[in-house]
């Protein structure tokens, strides 16, 4: 049966629902295939790394396993290619690199917020958002802070990008501008102007010469804390963060046990 499952999946361009595959198998088989036999075959294929099983939205999806698909693109031509490198850097270094997340009892989550949610203007959301819940010895309740990261390619190293990062402080406490500046890139508008404006407005600045190495990231300016209203924070989390992350935040804040 395993061979038949592999053949069916091979003929498809993407993942298929588990029940659809079982139905297709039953059409081809001379006698009905029980759920037990099918489940055992799926488990054997999955354990042998021949197929992937993914659970999403209450559905179980099967696909042929492709381990090479997860490598991020290189070289980088578009902002969307830059995102996975910055996300990986942030996951690795967030608590050590950003002082406002370095408490003993801090819980951190990160999410790509560049896409998804209401389409009411790109200036309304950072490309990556971090949520930090800090706990203190002498404070009654955990504290939530949001940190936004606006990513830009070399051609967008200009003052307008600082203003875009600044606009995010309507719903995040700290906002960073992250600019990809490989060696030899001549940033339009000039890095000096960007640095001056970022300093003036309290926007953090990170330059990235080589996103493949952590040493290629430089935190030029730390962001200054802003105080968005609770209503704006609530609205932002509700509209932009995944349901799983919303539930994690509620758990960390003691709202769900």
């Amino acid at each position: 049966m395993e061979e038949l499952i592999l053949r069916l999946l091979d003929g498809l361009s993407g993942p298929a629902g588990q029940s659809a595959i079982l139905a297709a198998l039953n059409r081809e088989a001379e006698q009905p295939i029980t759920g037990e036999r099918f489940d055992a075959a799926v488990l054997r294929l999955q354990t042998a790394s021949q197929i992937s099983v993914r659970h999403d939205g209450g559905r179980t999806l099967l696909s042929l396993r492709n381990d090479t698909a997860s490598a991020p693109p290189w070289p980088i031509y578009r902002e969307v290619d830059f995102e996975p490198y910055v996300e990986a850097y942030l996951w690795r270094n967030f608590q050590s690199a950003f002082s406002h997340a370095s408490h003993d009892g801090a819980s951190v989550l990160l999410q790509n917020t560049a896409r998804g949610g209401p389409t009411d203007g790109v200036w309304k959301r950072p490309d990556i958002t971090a949520a930090v819940v800090s706990r203190y010895h002498f404070a009654p309740a955990p504290e939530l802070e949001l940190i936004g990261f606006e990513l830009k390619m070399p051609r967008e190293c200009r003052v307008q990008s600082v203003h875009e990062a600044l606009s995010h402080t309507a719903h995040v406490h700290y906002s960073y501008l992250v600019i990809y500046l490989p060696s030899g890139a001549t940033p339009e508008g000039g890095l000096r102007q960007v640095t001056l404006q970022a300093q003036l407005h309290g926007v953090g600045l990170i330059t990235v010469s080589d996103p493949r190495n952590d040493s290629g990231f430089s935190i030029v300016l730390e962001a200054q804390r802003r105080e968005p209203t609770r209503a704006r924070i609530d609205e932002f989390i509700g509209a932009r963060l995944h349901r799983t992350n919303q539930l994690a935040l509620q758990g960390w804040l003691g709202m769900r046990r």
């Binding site: 759920g35 037990e36 489940d39 055992a40 799926v42 488990l43 999955q46 354990t47 042998a48 992937s52 099983v53 993914r54 659970h55 999403d56 939205g57 209450g58 997860s70 996975p84 996300e87 990986a88 996951w91 690795r92 608590q95 050590s96 003993d104 009892g105 819980s107 951190v108 989550l109 990160l110 999410q111 706990r135 010895h137 955990p142 995944h242 349901r243 799983t244 992350n245 539930l247 994690a248 758990g251 960390w252 769900r256 046990r257």
Partner: protein
């Protein structure tokens, strides 16, 4: 490429947690690696040791930051990013990095509840745990170079899923009759899960007590080398290793924490890393 190690044995009290924590710290200190410990044991001993002096009310198993929260997705949702549940261990400057995903005492009942609540087969539930581990490992691959799972004694669906993905199954064993027989039974259990798992098993002799019969049982363990890799390194001074776990992680230097067993630990870390990567230390 990230390497996955499962520290596992059906028998309790053979030093699984001590080996997990000390190996993680040694790989970070000596090889400057970024290491994630995943505590699958509901006793959460590895989590307690790694949490160090952190106030218990802020500990990850109390604040909703454990492996249980990663697994506790509602039916309509996808898994969260596994990195979300990692807590950083403060290590002395100059070493690599150690983080841990805490265990949860509620893992004892989680699997049972999930099985009872499910209308599907045992295989379907096991498949769910394998896909949870696959998602977990795919997330932490970008963040860590080594992932060490501290598996619970006995059998568990989650541990079985982790075993299926391990590059090395490190089986600590003490040289006693029951331990050696238990190890043989565990080795056949591994072959039952998958025929390839036995080849990934590495046996580590942890000598938690000195007995007259020790040499004989030690030879019995060595006899298993026909089927499994028996590590040359061993933990001879097990009491000193256990005492190291009582000292606080991170705040003291590596040498101070592993006083007396540092050379042994270094030998073990070197042998394991060289076995995993094919490179000499």
């Amino acid at each position: 490429m990230t390497k996955f190690i499962c520290v596992a044995n059906n028998k309790g009290g053979v030093g699984k947690t001590t080996v997990t924590v000390s190996l993680a710290e040694a790989l970070a200190q000596i090889h400057k690696l970024s290491v994630l410990v995943v505590d699958l044991d509901p006793q959460i001993n590895a989590s307690i040791v790694l949490a160090g002096s952190q106030p218990r009310e802020h500990a990850p198993w109390r604040t909703g930051n454990s492996i249980l929260e990663f697994l506790s997705v509602e039916r309509s949702q996808a898994f969260a990013n596994a990195n979300t549940f990692a807590s950083i261990v403060a290590l002395p400057a100059g070493s690599g990095r150690v983080a841990y995903v805490s265990g949860s005492p509620k893992m004892l009942t989680f699997e049972r509840r999930k099985l009872v609540a499910s209308a599907g087969t045992l295989e379907r539930e096991q498949s769910w745990f394998v896909s949870a581990i696959d998602k977990f490992l795919s997330d932490v691959r970008v963040t860590y170079q080594v992932v060490v799972f501290d598996c619970p004694p006995g059998l568990s669906l989650m541990a079985e899923a982790a075993l299926a993905r391990a590059d090395m199954i490190l089986m600590p064993v003490i040289p006693t009759a029951l331990s050696v027989m238990g190890l043989q039974a565990y080795a056949s259990y591994l072959s039952e899960i998958s025929p390839h798992l036995g080849q990934r098993a590495a046996i580590l002799k942890t000598m938690v007590r000195q007995t007259n019969a020790m040499d004989n049982w030690s030879r019995e363990i060595d006899a298993l080398s026909a089927e499994h890799y028996v590590l040359k390194a061993s933990t001879r001074y097990a009491t000193a290793w256990a005492e190291a776990m009582e000292r606080e992680a991170g705040h003291r230097s590596f040498s101070a924490r592993y006083l007396g067993v540092e050379p042994e630990l270094e030998t073990l870390a070197n042998e394991i890393w060289s076995k995993l990567t094919g490179r000499q230390p």
